[in-house]
């Protein structure tokens, strides 16, 4: 129960920051996506089950703030959360670059997948634009990871301790 509340608070904080502070600060014209970041970090720390669940609820929450059919980001982040959690188990380097790289790569792939789904639903994303934004957003997320990862990990450990 404590765990659920703690993770809900983290996802909601990410969402609030995304809507206010980070709505204006762009990297090459792209905004980061903090909900992706939180989901990937969570999956990294807690495994595929928590990753998929956090992805579903975080993605659904983000969907309600967007002008698109609800459920697309939920779908994307469920898959991203599961994949990151599942593949993370096979990576044993203690290097601090690992979470940064995973966040960057998973964000980029996640955004491309997300836009593919919106394209199937009749939106017009534009291939070149999607790739450009996916890479920039992935980079932006990766840059933010060293700052936010320790914070999220503290929350994870605090909620786990009994």
């Amino acid at each position: 129960m404590r765990r659920t509340l703690a993770w809900t608070a983290v996802v909601l904080t990410g969402l609030v920051l995304q809507s206010t502070a980070f709505a204006q600060v762009k990297l090459g014209g792209a905004k980061p996506d903090l909900v992706y970041l939180v989901t990937i970090v969570l999956a990294f720390l807690e495994g595929p089950t928590s990753g998929a669940t956090a992805g579903f609820f975080g993605g659904m929450a983000e969907d309600f703030l967007l002008n698109l059919p609800k459920g697309i980001t939920a779908l994307t982040l469920t898959i991203v959360g599961y994949s990151v959690g599942a593949t993370r188990q096979y990576m044993v380097t203690p290097s601090p670059l690992l979470p940064v790289a995973m966040v960057g790569a998973a964000t980029t792939l996640g955004i491309v997948f997300n836009q593919l789904v919106t394209f199937l639903l009749g939106q017009h994303p534009g291939t070149f634009y999607v790739l450009k934004i996916a890479l920039l957003a992935g980079l932006y997320n990766a840059i933010l990871t060293p700052i936010l990862f320790p914070v999220i990990r503290r929350v994870a450990e605090a909620s786990r301790a009994k």
Binding site: T20, K31, M60, E62, K70, G71, G85, P125
Partner: protein, 277 residues
């Protein structure tokens, strides 16, 4: 610290979540504006609107901050602001070269006088859309101020977009640069019509109905304002920058520079009712 969760349980969970996502997408996609999830969407917009409003009020420079405070709840300064907006729109309409063309038609003169007065609500832009793939703005007026979905939105410079979502005290506007935005436009000099579509950070494109239309560089494009259309007529959309001929087709596509500078958009005007006579 990786957890070694039981693979079968995890897969079952993930499959259920994926199914739930797909079902949600289907329901919302088919439900459209009256779908069951729109209520939650409005609730979210209320919360985000409130947050963005709070943040933008703190972040703006002190001068604007006090001006913003003075506007809140003050009818007099809002009237003043509205008057300024209407005056700017009038001047802009008069400058448009379409006036020269329409003066030849008696009926058009009558319509032009009607169209100079737009009734509506002035609002401040308090935030942007949060995603990377939508071109929207959040404003600090909502249902309580008379705003409804599909109302057109303009600024002193020209056409901004239309309302796509409304909550109690904030609304979301889709800009004309959004690729899903389509506006019926008319060339100022020849009167030829076409569909103006957003192209994100690039110039707008206008698909001309008649490929033989004569076009001048820098020519203005205004809303054509059909009765069944979304936007009132005579509102400046942008200016022609160049034309793009599609090889192998008979269509002519123009690139338009939008009249409104969306990166600096601060005040807008939502058209709530029919034009003043």
């Amino acid at each position: 610290m990786a957890l070694y969760s039981r693979p079968r349980n995890t897969r079952l969970l993930v499959v259920s979540l994926v199914m739930a996502s797909l079902i949600t997408i289907t329901i919302d996609y088919r439900g459209g504006e009256s779908g069951p999830f729109e209520v939650a969407g409005r609730g979210a917009l209320s919360v985000v609107g409130a947050l963005q409003g709070a943040v933008s009020r703190v972040v703006r420079p002190i001068g604007d901050f006090f001006t913003g405070l003075a506007h809140v709840g003050s009818l007099k300064s809002e009237n003043e602001h509205l008057k300024n907006e209407i005056q700017r729109l009038k001047e802009q309409s008069q400058e448009s070269t379409s006036l020269q063309r329409q003066n030849k038609e008696l009926f058009a003169i009558l319509r032009l006088t009607q169209n100079l007065g737009l009734t509506g609500v002035a609002a401040t832009v308090i935030g942007e859309g949060i995603g990377n793939f939508e071109w929207t703005r959040t404003i600090d007026r909502g249902e309580a101020d008379g705003i409804r979905v599909n109302m057109p939105v303009v600024s002193g410079e020209g056409l901004v977009g239309h309302v796509v979502e409304v909550s109690g005290h904030s609304s979301k506007i889709q800009l004309i640069i959004d690729p899903d935005s389509a506006v019926a436009g008319r060339l100022a000099s020849s009167g030829e019509t076409g569909l103006v579509v957003g192209q994100r950070d690039q110039d707008l494109t206008m698909d001309l109905v008649s490929p033989e239309a004569k076009i001048f560089a820098g020519e203005q494009v205004i809303t054509s304002g059909y009765q069944t259309g979304l936007y009132p007529p005579e509102i400046l959309i942008g200016t022609v920058s160049h034309s793009v001929t599609q090889p192998g087709t008979l269509t002519k596509v123009l690139a338009l520079r939008p009249a409104v500078d969306f990166s600096a958009l601060e005040f807008v005007f939502v058209v709530t009712g029919p034009s003043e006579p």
